[in-house]
């Protein structure tokens, strides 16, 4: 029996040795890339879907934006550039677009990329049976909404292949931002030949067919993806990276540790170290088209009164919140459309429209008194501010609570809810006063402003203003961009005169980046672009 015991202990020692050895042999950041430029990114999670209109979120569209390409691609200046389409013509009424597809546009399996691939993809996106969440983006194509809502047929959707390399699209009205919109992943083409043979072509690397700067070389679900430089991309000489490795790490601390050990080239800024990194100038900041705001339900007391709504808005010091609460170098917002959209005169929408209200505690106090007098209230009806549970939202809500106490002398209550429940309740208009967020789907101010038409899903303030609705409608039908922007300026001004919401700050993305990496492009209203990126060894 003693023999047996010694055998067991030998085995134990052997196991320990194996572990110890394997630990020594496999150092994590073996930088034996062999002179290749390999960029290591983290997508944060498994993509929802790489089927273009099904993803509809950043984890899917960040990678997809580099595996595929639409008719246009956003340039480094965020303006749409010719991509798969070499050029296009617009009819005199601004409604019909004719795209001329590059002769050398190819799929990465060698198939020729045709106009038919776009027709196929866009009709798929609008197919009500497919139930694509991004389908509504294509409602500006004539017949699109009818087909998607089951009132029309696929044949009535006004997108046609004139010949194999010419695509014609007719819109419901002249909308010049269509050129920018077709750069969005929802409008990417699909290789019809492949998709008709295998309806789940997008689910695995072996069957995925793209047409972008990179090719999907391998995809271990929930684990990692490897992109290799595409040899069939029409502009392959511009692409510098040989390979992009995407990890799928959801824990921000692990992401940061992997960044420190060289397993990643880019990472988010850990919350507890952020002020230190900002001070050292290590944090990169990219603009994001989106706004953090608060909705006031105009059907509930006390927000039925416009002066009280204005008082609540003007008593909040946004600069204080961005500088001392959020601390991520966000721009304080006193308007809804975020910076980064140029009007035809070349001026930024936000700069032209200016601050539509200001932090003014004295005025706020006066407005509150006036509003209460108008309503005949001696005491203000109780107010509860609801937000979805998160540290950032909590800190902001508490700061606002303190500002109301100090500036208006009123006590509001705070309530928080889990994100999913919150969304359902907010959509149902159940909140009196609640936190809202908006992230743009495409690069035009109309995408921001259309949300406050009567009955839109984001309009949880239940605000309805016929003048506003008509301004948005006119803007959507206006083919002259100067007039269109004038209408949008007017609409935003009206929104803040009526004040069913007030804004806090514009979103941004902050991150740490390996100093060897250059040329990453972040678009405010779109997805990461690696086409121009490089990494020096």
């Amino acid at each position: 029996m003693k023999k047996w015991l010694s055998k067991a202990s030998l085995l134990g020692i052997a196991v320990i040795l194996v572990f110890a050895f394997s630990g020594c042999t496999a150092k994590p950041n073996a930088s034996s890339s062999g002179g290749k430029e390999i960029l290591k990114l983290n997508s944060g999670a498994e993509p929802t879907s790489l089927d273009p209109p099904m993803g509809y979120d950043q984890v899917s569209w960040d990678p997809l934006n580099n595996l595929m390409e639409g008719l246009t691609r956003l340039g480094k200046d965020n303006q749409p550039q010719p991509a798969i389409a070499q050029k296009w013509d617009v009819s005199a009424d601004g409604k019909t677009y004719t795209f001329h597809i590059r002769k050398n546009a190819k799929w990465d399996n060698g198939d020729d990329l045709t106009a038919g691939d776009f027709v196929y993809a866009w009709k798929q996106m609008l197919d009500p049976k497919k139930a694509a969440p991004a389908a509504f983006l294509a409602y500006l194509i004539a017949g699109g909404e009818a087909y998607n809502t089951g009132k029309g047929s696929a044949n009535d959707v006004q997108v046609k292949a004139i010949d194999s390399k010419t695509l014609q699209v007719t819109l419901t009205s002249a909308q010049s931002y269509f050129i920018s919109m077709v750069s969005n992943p929802a409008f990417f083409p699909v290789d019809q030949k492949v998709a008709e043979k295998n309806s789940k072509w997008y689910a695995n690397a072996s069957t995925f067919v793209g047409n972008g700067p990179f090719k999907l070389a391998s995809w271990k679900h929930d684990s990692n993806m490897v992109f290799k430089k595409s040899s069939t991309y029409w502009d392959k000489n511009t692409v510098k990276l040989d390979e992009v490795d995407w990890a799928m790490v959801s824990d921000p601390n692990t992401e940061y540790q992997m960044y420190k050990t060289g397993q990643l080239d880019m990472a988010g800024v850990p919350a507890d170290l952020s002020s230190q990194f900002f001070k050292q100038g290590k944090v990169h900041v990219a603009q994001q088209a989106g706004t953090y705001f608060f909705s006031m339900n105009v059907n509930m007391k006390p927000f039925n009164n416009i002066n009280i709504r204005r008082a609540f808005a003007m008593a909040v010091d946004n600069k204080q919140i961005t500088d001392y609460v959020v601390k991520q170098k966000n721009v304080p917002a006193y308007g809804f459309v975020s910076p980064g959209f140029k009007d035809p005169s070349g001026q930024d929408f936000r700069a032209h429209s200016g601050n539509l209200y200001n932090y003014d505690p004295a005025q706020a106090k006066k407005l509150l008194a006036q509003g209460m007098k108008e309503e005949g209230w001696q005491t203000l009806p109780p107010v509860t501010l609801t937000y979805n549970t998160s540290d950032n939202n909590k800190s902001i809500a508490e700061a606002i609570q303190a500002m109301y106490q100090k500036n208006l002398g009123i006590n509001i209550k705070l309530a928080n809810m889990e994100w999913n429940v919150y969304q359902s309740q907010q959509k149902a208009g159940k909140f009196q006063f609640s936190r809202g967020s908006f992230l743009a789907d495409y690069g035009d101010p109309i995408n921001f402003l259309e949300n406050f038409q009567t009955g839109m899903p984001i309009n949880s303030m239940e605000w309805s203003n016929s003048e506003y609705d008509s301004l948005i409608k006119q803007a959507k039908n206006e083919k002259d961009d100067t007039k269109r922007f004038a209408l949008m300026y007017k609409a935003e001004k009206l929104l803040f005169q009526q004040m069913p919401l007030f804004t806090t700050y514009f979103y941004n993305q902050t991150f740490l980046l390996n100093s060897k990496v250059h040329g990453l492009v972040f678009h405010p209203a779109a997805y990461i672009d690696l086409k121009w990126a490089s990494k020096t060894n």
Partner: protein, 311 residues
């Protein structure tokens, strides 16, 4: 024995049915919807209607329950709502092997080291080894695995650079998560073994064995340990089911593509097919484990008869 197995099997099916029904009721009782986007993007009314129809969610709950029962019975849960390109079976099929591999190693490490520590502590009762072993055990029980995991990463991945900080690509990636995950169970096992060994070692039959002049090793491993293992086996059933099906926190911290995250993420995103897939799968594993525990009882202690009712 056959009678016992048939009886247990019927009971298992019944248990599963109760669990699935409760899960169905509970998951539909939580407010919220699977179509709420995690990034908060609003989906238009028409797209929402199309999606509800696609997943039969426009049907009355009773019909949905029947569809659900059918999918449980055939073990075919359909596509995930959150990841429409994948079926629930795809998710479990690729997540479970990873969790299972990690879990098996964890169990092996935890049982071997736990039993060893426990036996040593009991033999050297109130001696230095006992105190050391029990200090390790108290440490293991009181430090949560996610704290340990973070400390391990900081020390062994970031400072010493011996092991990678995360992801799942080979043996060197497994060491830290196994240690993080095994320490707690090891401590529990060590304490259980110690106390039951102490009890067993004072019994008459051990004294008899000693009087007969048997070697101490034989007494400990053949006579004492076999009886002392009973409480450990009881714990192991639930422990193994939990560990083998993946752990949310450890898998998240080490970025391991196991199935642990589906338990939590599916509930947060109200991904109904995935909720029922994970629940049914976990329940099935748990029930099988408990069954194995019952069998093991009979083997370890012949006084426990499986088909006692049949007498």
């Amino acid at each position: 024995m056959a009678k016992f197995i048939i009886k247990r099997f019927t009971a298992m099916i019944l248990t599963l049915w109760v669990i699935t029904t409760l899960t169905f009721i509970l998951m539909h009782a939580i407010p919220g919807s699977p179509f709420n986007n995690s990034s908060g993007k609003a989906i238009s009314g028409a797209a929402l209607k199309n999606m509800e129809a696609h997943y039969h969610m426009n049907q009355p709950l009773s019909i949905q329950y029947l569809i659900y029962l059918k999918s449980v019975a055939t073990f075919n849960f359909g596509p995930s709502i959150k990841q429409p390109a994948q079926t629930v079976n795809d998710l479990l099929g690729r997540g479970f092997p990873v969790s299972f591999e990690l879990g098996m190693w964890t169990l092996i490490v935890a049982i071997l080291s736990g039993v060893l520590l426990g036996v040593l502590a009991a033999l050297k009762h109130n001696g230095l080894i006992d105190y050391i072993a029990m200090t390790i055990a108290v440490f293991g029980i009181s430090i949560p695995d996610f704290v340990l995991a973070t400390m391990l990463i900081q020390e062994f991945a970031v400072n010493l650079q011996w092991f990678p900080a995360g992801t799942w690509q080979g043996v060197s990636y497994m060491i830290l998560p196994i240690i993080a995950l095994a320490t707690g169970p090891m401590a529990i096992i060590a304490r259980l073994i110690r106390s039951s060994m102490l009890e067993v070692l004072t019994q008459d039959y051990i004294r008899t064995a000693q009087a007969k002049g048997l070697s101490p090793v034989l007494i400990v491993f053949k006579h004492a340990l076999k009886n002392a293992l009973l409480p450990v086996v009881t714990v192991l059933g639930t422990l193994a089911a939990a560990i083998l099906t993946g752990t949310f926190v450890i898998e998240k911290i080490f970025a391991i593509p196991g199935m642990g995250k589906y338990f939590v993420d599916s509930i947060n995103s109200r991904d109904y097919p995935v909720i029922m897939g994970t629940t049914v799968f976990y329940s099935a594993i748990l029930i099988v484990m408990l069954f194995l525990v019952d069998i093991a009882y009979g083997w370890l202690d012949p006084r426990i008869k499986m088909d006692r009712e049949a007498r």
